[in-house]
């Protein structure tokens, strides 16, 4: 079942990529750092306040970090090149990681299980599942549903979609495109932090756990077709499960190398993803 938990977190990171990509055309290489930041902050806060409050606080703080990043580094750049944005967001990810290293040190941390302990299990249709896995999957599912409702049903969500479809036209309709981008960073950071909190009891968190997550999240985003969040969930599960099976074939130390090799293969063979259309992908600026 570890595959499903990891799959959930990969899907959440992928959705974070998609939200910012849809709003700006940027791939935010610091996406994995939001997950790490959310988990770390929640661990620290949980020492002083009850768990639910700690998680809420971690999500709020990470959301603020997302907003600050956009306002300080991204907002005032006029039509930056892709290369420039790649390098800036990589720089940001290094910065966040180094700050985390100085704040939290190199130790591996974890949150307590939300319900029960690490040995509790629930019997579900013949298999035993840790309740935390259900938490992770459940929260992931709720997050996807809420996001989908937000983008399709609310005025604000529709405005954000309008901006991603055509920024200049949206601006002419009186939408503040700059604020929409800030909002996309905030949503993306928030969902990353939530994901970081729910999987933290199982996967643990470490100052350096962001980069591998970013790469695997990107793999999933590509696998599902960049910008397509529903497909990302399926793709996340595929990668998570493939990865957990790879341990049967190769030493666990190579697990990460395997999933990145999968990324490379997808990029080489089918950059539009399994679910995406090749025709639409060609129109996108790679």
């Amino acid at each position: 079942m570890a595959g499903v938990t990891y799959g959930t977190i990969y899907a959440i990171v992928a959705i974070g990529f998609n939200i910012i990509y849809n709003a700006t055309g940027i791939i935010n290489f610091a996406q994995g750092e939001f997950v790490m930041l959310g988990g770390m902050t929640a661990v620290t806060l949980s020492r002083f306040v009850p768990l639910p409050v700690a998680i809420l606080g971690a999500v709020v703080l990470t959301t603020i970090v997302g907003a600050v990043i956009e306002i300080v580094f991204i907002r005032w750049l006029h039509r930056p090149s892709v290369l420039r944005m790649v390098i800036i967001t990589i720089g940001i990810s290094i910065l966040i990681r180094e700050i985390a290293l100085h704040v939290w040190g190199e130790s591996v941390r974890s949150l307590p299980y939300f319900t029960g302990t690490s040995v509790t299990s629930i019997r579900l249709g013949g298999v035993y599942i840790s309740p935390q896995v259900l938490w992770a999957v459940g929260v992931g599912a709720v997050a996807v549903a809420l996001l989908s409702a937000f983008f399709n049903l609310t005025m604000l969500g529709r405005q954000m979609r309008a901006c991603s479809a055509n920024r200049d036209a949206a601006r002419l309709c009186g939408i503040n495109a700059g604020n929409m981008v800030t909002l996309s960073f905030m949503i993306s950071a928030a969902i990353g932090a939530i994901g970081g909190c729910v999987v933290c009891p199982i996967t643990y968190v470490h100052y350096d756990s962001g980069t591998p997550l970013a790469i695997k999240g990107f793999t999933v985003a590509i696998l599902g077709g960049l910008g397509n969040s529903t497909a990302a969930v399926g793709a996340g599960m595929i990668l998570g499960i493939l990865e957990s099976f790879s341990i049967w074939v190769l030493p666990a130390a190579y697990k990460e190398a395997i999933s990145i090799a999968i990324l490379l293969l997808i990029l080489f063979v089918r950059p539009s993803g399994i679910f995406g259309s090749a025709e639409a992908a060609r129109l996108k600026e790679f």
């Binding site: 790649v86 990589i90 940001i92 980069t211």
Partner: protein, 358 residues
């Protein structure tokens, strides 16, 4: 052409001046970090050729450095005595390509000669660069960045996870690299000065090769591919092949640097393959001005030296992260742009005429 080589001569002068300065200051131990800086610089000028001139980013060049270093380290330390029965081993021994080495405990090892190990290491890096580069360089923008980053992480994970390569500890007790005329590449204090000159001599050789290349037909074609790829194709330049060749060339530079630094340090660990190393190399190329070999070289000299001497303390990686952000935010064409130098000159001459007026 005269200008090309006068810069090289000036740089050689700088190298000599630095050595003399450390001698006069009675601080020859600085040469150790400066020698290591030289090998990193060799990788960086090669990467500068790829990023600045061919216009292709690579966030995985530490991987090629590590391939060079690890292969050479493994072959020159791994005991082949148990495999004497193998025909290949017997053949190599007959050809004088194997050495008897005694270890710290007096045991005897049969290992590969450093020259053969070096050749194998660079060859492997070049082959991998060809195989990986073909499909990778078809990608653009985010996809290229992510793919090269992924390549680097795979190398890092393999180094970290393979017992045969020493896992987290890496490989140590790598012997020195013997050269003609009794010279040896080694971190031994008795050969510190000669190693300093050997390393920087190698960098200068690399610079001459690359400067020649930039001024040649190939350099012009690369600049065309970088400027307007479809137009370059329309006048008969095989754009994909030129990008690939440059990628392989820069990988060869990185692997040579990896081989020699490993023999100099007497070992290599997985951190040499880490993402942070790759990002650091890109940061230095960026601050040097992207398409500016001299800028990259000077920035590499200064920043690597400061970093290796520990001036950035525990903020080592953070410093390079901040540099990367600042450069990309405020001076995406790099700090050492030609026209900034021109601006300074104008400012200086303007200042002079003001003084005359006063």
């Amino acid at each position: 052409m005269a200008r090309r080589y006068s810069m090289v001569a000036a740089f050689a002068g700088l190298v000599v001046a630095i050595q003399v300065a450390t001698y006069l200051a009675g601080a020859p131990y600085h040469l150790t970090q400066l020698t290591m800086t030289a090998y990193y610089s060799l990788l960086i000028v090669g990467l500068c050729m790829l990023i600045g001139y061919a216009g292709q980013i690579s966030l995985g060049h530490a991987g090629f450095f590590a391939i060079g270093g690890y292969v050479s380290a493994f072959l020159t330390t791994h005991d082949l005595a148990a495999h004497k029965g193998l025909r290949l081993v017997a053949l190599l021994q007959k050809a004088g390509m194997l050495l008897e080495r005694s270890d710290l405990y007096g045991g005897s090892h049969l290992v590969v000669h450093p020259w053969l190990a070096c050749a194998a290491a660079v060859l492997l890096a070049v082959v991998i660069a060809y195989v990986v580069g073909g499909p990778v360089l078809k990608l653009r923008g985010h996809y290229l960045a992510m793919a090269t980053l992924g390549f680097g992480i795979i190398i890092y994970r393999v180094a970290l996870g393979t017992e045969l390569l020493g896992a987290a500890d890496g490989i140590s007790e790598v012997p020195g690299f013997p050269l003609p005329f009794g010279l040896i590449i080694s971190g031994n204090a008795s050969v510190r000065v000669s190693n300093y000159y050997l390393a920087w001599g190698l960098v200068i050789l690399g610079m001459v090769l690359l400067l020649n290349l930039i001024q040649s037909r190939v350099g012009r074609a690369l600049s065309a591919v970088h400027g307007a790829e479809d137009a370059a194709g329309a006048i008969g330049i095989p754009t994909a092949r030129y990008k690939l060749n440059t990628f392989v060339l820069s990988a060869a530079f990185a692997s040579v640097a990896g081989v020699f630094l490993t023999h100099y340090n007497g070992g290599i660990g997985p951190s040499e393959a880490s993402v942070m190393k790759s990002v650091r190399y890109v940061a230095i190329v960026a601050i040097g001005g992207m398409a500016n070999l001299w800028g990259a070289l000077l920035m590499s000299l200064v920043l690597n030296y400061l970093s290796l001497r520990g001036y950035f303390g525990t903020f080592d990686d953070a410093v390079f992260g901040v540099i990367l952000i600042l450069i990309m935010l405020f001076a995406p064409d790099g700090l050492l742009r030609r026209h900034i130098l021109a601006d300074l000159k104008r400012l200086a001459s303007g200042g002079a005429s003001d003084e005359e007026a006063a």
